[in-house]
């Protein structure tokens, strides 16, 4: 049986009073959320703590305080953190690889780290995510030869390996042209049926178009938590961006 054939159930996510302090300054306070499956878009200006929140959920920092539970597991506990990582997909904002690394090698490298599979099924899974993002013809190209948008697709592709039951993507839609952005939105939306995805974005309308829940971060506080439809309603029924600006204004 290959990894792709395994039926997966989205991991539950519970946040209660999550706060982040950086250099003695509170950059995020009192974020609470409950979800199982679907896409949760985290919106907010630069420096609002989006990336720090996402890094805490991705188990790569212990800076956040408050209660975080992923499928009932506590990511601050070392043994439970390892369990979380076994079903986690992570696409950081600026995924770094040596520029001479080839696309296939970069994704397969992450597959080697993430999936406990023999070579053949692991490479099949690598090809699966490469094909989902339509990167097949670039598989032998070095990352240095790719456009920023194509490098971003590689970042998203490696985050789909497994496939994960819980995934964290930081600005996955940035730098993508409209056609590829739509393809990536579809890939993430499709994954969201079997996975809980937390995604930070500056692209309010695009993120709201396929998210199931939206968090708008104001100055240190969540200014809005709800559905995209509720966010649009906050903006007088115009667009999600109008709603975003309205709730951000209320947060000031």
């Amino acid at each position: 049986m290959t990894a792709t054939a395994v039926s997966v159930k989205p991991a539950s996510l519970l946040l209660e009073g999550v706060s982040v302090e950086r250099a003695g300054r509170v950059v995020l306070a009192n974020v609470s959320l409950r979800a199982r499956g679907g896409v949760i878009a985290v919106l907010g200006p630069n420096g609002s703590g989006k990336t720090t929140l996402l890094r805490a959920l991705a188990t790569v920092t212990s800076q956040a305080a408050g209660l975080i539970r992923v499928d009932g597991l506590d990511p601050t506990d070392p043994s439970q953190r390892l369990q979380v990582r076994s079903f986690l997909g992570y696409g950081p904002q600026a995924m770094r690889f040596h520029p001479r690394t080839k696309v296939f090698d970069a994704v397969d490298y992450v597959a080697t780290l993430r999936l406990d599979l023999p070579t053949a099924p692991r490479q099949r899974e690598t090809w699966r995510v490469i094909d989902v993002l339509d990167l097949g013809r670039l598989a032998g190209n070095r990352l240095s030869s790719l456009s920023e948008g194509n490098r971003q697709r590689v970042t998203i592709a490696q985050g789909l390996l497994g496939p994960p039951r819980f995934a964290v993507f930081d600005e996955p839609l940035v730098s993508l042209d409209p056609e590829i952005r739509l393809r990536c939105q579809n890939a993430l939306g499709d994954l969201g049926r079997r996975c809980t995805i937390v995604m930070a974005s500056h692209l309010v309308n695009e993120a709201a178009s396929f998210a199931d829940q939206v968090i708008v971060l104001g100055q240190g506080q969540p200014a809005f938590v709800g559905t995209p439809a509720q966010l649009i309603a906050e903006g007088g029924g115009q667009t999600a961006t109008h709603g975003y600006l309205a709730v951000r204004g209320a947060g000031h």
Binding site: S62, P78, R85, R96, D105, G136
Partner: protein
């Protein structure tokens, strides 16, 4: 021989016994009608997936030289992949060992000093192994660190796999330098010190970053061995039997500490 649709389907699925399989294959070579019947039997999605697999086989880049060499040396494929897919790591490390090897050769080249000239070689050889450990893991040397630490393989297992992939090269280089210097039994006298230094670095990594641990151990090793050499008429005293015993004890202690505190390595990589 006539081939029924059932037999042809069994051939398509690879379910025929070897003799029947060969017989059908022979007929397919000469019988165009049979080839057409086989083509009609193949489900379109199967054909698509075959073409996809062919495309993947063509597009998949060949493993790099380090992966190929490691594979031939018996290193497990995943370990070779992890070492080979991060060229920055290996290149920085190769520059490092190249520099140390050159320094070792230059400093130990003066044959008028007899065996005493091997002190530089024996001081530098274990540092190659420490450098291999230092380059194997950490935010400062691994550009993929952010992704790496979010993976279930992060921590001591990955660190040891990477050390396993890179340390043999350092050891081969050390033995080659010993051979070039005609160091005789001293060509092997660095092995226990190197093991002690490598294990001490790994043990310290449970508390400090890999880079800092390696720096402390390397500096400590050079200072202590240098002082022992300076305080004795025989500057190689640290590498004779009594010195080797001390290094063996140190290696055992460091290995024990590493086993006891291995759980802390997980926390250390997050710092």
């Amino acid at each position: 021989m006539t081939v029924s649709d059932l037999q042809l389907a069994a051939y398509r699925d690879g379910r025929l016994d070897p003799v029947s399989d060969a017989a059908v294959e022979e007929l397919l070579m000469v019988d165009q009608t049979l080839r057409k019947r086989l083509g009609a039997l193949a489900p379109p999605n199967r054909l698509d997936s075959v073409w996809l697999e062919v495309g993947h086989a063509i597009d998949q880049p060949a493993p790099g030289w380090l992966e190929r060499v490691a594979g031939r040396l018996g290193v497990p494929e995943p370990a070779a992949r992890l070492a080979g897919a991060t060229p920055t790591l290996t290149r920085a490390w190769l520059y490092g060992i190249g520099g140390l090897v050159l320094l070792s050769l230059i400093l130990s080249a003066d044959t008028t000093q007899g065996d005493q000239r091997f002190l530089s070689y024996l001081l530098l050889a274990p540092l190659l192994v420490v450098l291999a450990v230092a380059a194997a893991y950490g935010r400062s040397t691994d550009p993929t660190h952010e992704i790496t630490i979010a993976a279930p393989l992060a921590g001591i297992r990955l660190l040891l796999w990477r050390v396993l992939a890179v340390a043999p090269t350092a050891m081969i280089m050390n033995l080659a330098v010993g051979f070039l210097l005609r160091a005789g039994r001293f060509s092997f006298a660095w092995i226990l010190p190197a093991l002690a230094c490598a294990l001490a670095t790994l043990a310290l990594t449970t508390t400090l970053s890999v880079r800092r641990s390696a720096s402390i151990v390397a500096a400590g090793y050079v200072v202590v061995v240098g002082m022992v050499a300076a305080g004795s008429a025989d500057n190689l005293v640290a590498f004779r039997a009594s010195g080797q015993l001390v290094f063996a004890v140190l290696a055992a202690v460091a290995g024990g500490l590493l086993v006891v505190f291995r759980g802390r390595l997980e926390e250390a990589v997050l710092r």
